[in-house]
């Protein structure tokens, strides 16, 4: 009786879960497949498959719609900001976690407060700040802003990692006569490398996607990042659907590649850190 009631229930569960997996993945598959079909084909057969796939739309989007420029700009701004933000946080978190000085607690709370504050609240003042610094429509301005926005999170995570390192490590090095910068660079920093990798990845994704700040701070086409360029492009290529789909794929592909490459690295890093 019980087993009899369970069997159809289990079939329903399988159907629901695998059915939803299709719902989750199909739109992305349609995006990819339609980018390989000419627009005329998409319009006449919205549900068709790419019978003679072509990369022509990608070529058009990459050069004509200047996605190559957007791509490079996004790469410069995001990588620059992640590296700068992580670098300054790695040193600050170290000082907060391992050094004794008056105001340590207060400074730590000051830096961590940013975790709870929405940086959008400062959008208008940031606009005028950038204006007065001559950093409107500038990749440098965006990089500095992004790097600063990563500081609270990085300091939060990294100082926890520094704190977990045994005190004997730097004490022994100090007795051996190593300077503070050497202790940091050659002993401490290598030990938190797994945390550095995770922290960099977690910063990368939201910065790669950030749209509001580029919308407000960037003016000219040759400075646009991918999301900003995409919004421009969707206004200009409204009827060229093949190109629109190709643009969406190009905007999405880097993160998929990054995640496929990085997931293993991060899991390896985390487990290495735990088994010490």
């Amino acid at each position: 009786m019980r087993a009899g009631r369970r069997a159809p229930g289990r079939v329903a569960v399988h159907l629901l879960l695998w059915g939803y997996a299709a719902v989750a993945l199909l739109p992305l598959a349609v995006m990819l497949l339609n980018s390989l079909r000419p627009t005329s084909e998409i319009f006449t057969a919205p549900l068709g498959l790419p019978l003679s796939p072509t990369l022509r739309s990608y070529a058009r989007v990459w050069t004509e719609a200047s996605f190559s420029t957007y791509f490079l700009n996004s790469l410069i701004v995001t990588c620059g900001a992640v590296l700068l933000g992580t670098a300054v946080s790695a040193t600050a978190a170290y000082a907060l976690a391992r050094y004794d000085f008056p105001g340590n607690r207060l400074l730590g709370a000051y830096l961590l407060a940013g975790l709870m504050l929405p940086i959008r609240l400062g959008l208008v003042p940031i606009f005028y700040l950038m204006d007065s610094l001559g950093l409107i429509d500038s990749l440098l301005g965006l990089t500095l802003l992004y790097a600063a926005s990563g500081v609270p999170f990085c300091v939060f995570v990294l100082s926890a990692f520094y704190r977990s390192l045994p005190a004997e490590l730097d004490e022994a090095a100090r007795i051996d006569g190593a300077g503070e910068f050497r202790i940091f660079g050659q002993i401490m920093l290598p030990l938190v490398r797994p945390a550095l990798a995770s922290v960099m990845l977690f910063q990368f994704v939201p910065l790669w996607h950030e749209f509001l700040y580029p919308l407000v701070l960037l003016r000219s086409d040759e400075k646009f990042t991918i999301p900003r360029g995409l919004s421009q492009f969707f206004g200009e290529y409204t009827t060229d659907w093949s190109a629109l789909f190709a643009g969406l794929v190009l905007a999405t592909a880097p993160l998929f590649v990054l995640f496929v490459l990085a997931t293993k690295q991060i899991i390896a890093g985390l487990t290495a850190g735990m088994s010490k």
Binding site: V13, W18, Y20, A21, A24, L25, P27, L28, I42, P46, V88, T91, A92, Y94, A95, A97, R98, D100, F101, L111, M116, L117, P118, I119, R120, G122, L123, V124, P125, F127, L129, L145, A148, V151, P152, F153, F156, A160, S164, P166, A167, E180, F181, F184, S198, F202, H209, F211, L212, V216, L230, S231, F234, L244, L248, A251, T252, L255, L270, M274
Partner: protein
């Protein structure tokens, strides 16, 4: 922030020395060393984050003529938001849409996320694949998701309506994003499509933390599957439900990219999808006029106070519920 907790706890709990290292034995270096370590981060953070945030409060209490500060205005900018056309209407409308967005997301995304977590809990082969499939959309930029779905839902060339017509549901082939009645619900569903993997993962982790004896005890006592869920599992999920609710609230009230991509900066059609994020952007940079700085700053401060205040209240509410469990 969730990730941060996950990252730091395993290491800390494994090294009992951690607390000791943070104590008296710490080194006190010279000021010059400290400055080299601390100044870059403190400067960067103070100039580009703290100073603008404090300025936003300051700006909101002044009268503005373009970019010139004209004089102390007290609460005038705040009053204008509620009393001057068109903000008096748009503010409440946008707020109502955000509230609906939140309610709809809790109802659809988080309930479905919990359901998937429960169904996957003891699922055999394919569990990993299913989890990965459900979470894949949240790797995609919300802006890309918005543009993608606006193409998919296009009434003439979109595959969604073509599919509905192909299976005989012609009457369901609606202009989804062009109708004031369907546009906001569609945006809520698309948003849920993107994020459903997130509550699922959090609930899965919470379920894995419930001791198996509890379920067995419930079964031995003769509880039905529903009773066991209602009386045992659900109360024990309170902390996870709290985290998911608060993060959903914060996310929904800050919505921008997805709505911008699907409905433009005005929340078309006819403002039926306008949300606070879009309104703020318009007041500040599109249609604010000479009063833009003061009014948009006032709106930013109001949004911050509301989102932060509600999040704090909700967090303490869920903490109390948690304590009642023990």
């Amino acid at each position: 922030m969730v990730q941060a907790g996950e990252l730091s706890t395993p290491r800390r709990s494994r090294t009992p020395r951690a607390a000791h290292a943070g104590g008296r034995s710490r080194h006190a270096p010279r000021w010059r060393v400290l400055a080299v370590f601390l100044l870059p981060a403190v400067l960067l953070y103070s100039v580009f984050i703290v100073y603008p945030l404090l300025s936003a409060f300051d700006y909101s209490f002044f009268e503005w003529r373009g970019i010139r500060q004209a004089g102390f205005a007290g609460l005038d900018n705040y009053r204008d938001l509620f009393g001057v056309y068109p903000y008096d209407r748009q503010l409440w409308r946008a707020f109502a849409h955000n509230a609906l967005f939140f309610a709809g997301t809790m109802l659809i995304q988080n309930t479905v996320g919990l359901l998937f977590a429960l169904l996957l809990f003891r699922y055999g082969r394919g569990k990993r694949f299913l989890q990965a499939a459900f979470t894949t959309p949240y790797l995609v930029d919300p802006l890309v998701v918005g543009y993608l779905w606006s193409l998919l839902l296009n009434p003439t060339f979109g595959p969604v309506n073509a599919l509905l017509e192909a299976v005989g549901l012609d009457s369901w082939a609606l202009p989804w994003l062009g109708d004031t009645r369907t546009a906001l619900p569609v945006i809520i569903v698309v948003n849920a499509w993107q994020w459903v993997g997130f509550p699922m993962l959090l609930f899965s982790a919470a379920l894995a933390g419930i001791p198996a004896e509890y379920h067995e005890a419930a079964r031995v006592d003769g509880a039905s599957a529903w009773q066991a869920f209602r009386r045992v599992t659900l109360p024990l999920l309170t902390p996870a439900i709290g985290v998911v609710s608060v993060l959903t609230f914060i996310g929904n009230f800050n919505a921008f990219g997805l709505v911008y991509a699907m409905a433009g900066s005005t929340g078309s059609p006819a403002g039926s999808t306008d949300v606070l994020g879009l309104l703020f952007y318009r007041v500040a940079f599109v249609e604010g006029g000479v009063e833009a700085i003061g009014r948009s700053s006032a709106l930013a401060v109001l949004m911050f106070v509301f989102i932060f205040g509600v999040s704090l209240l909700a967090t303490s509410y869920f903490r109390r519920r948690e304590r009642m469990l023990v």
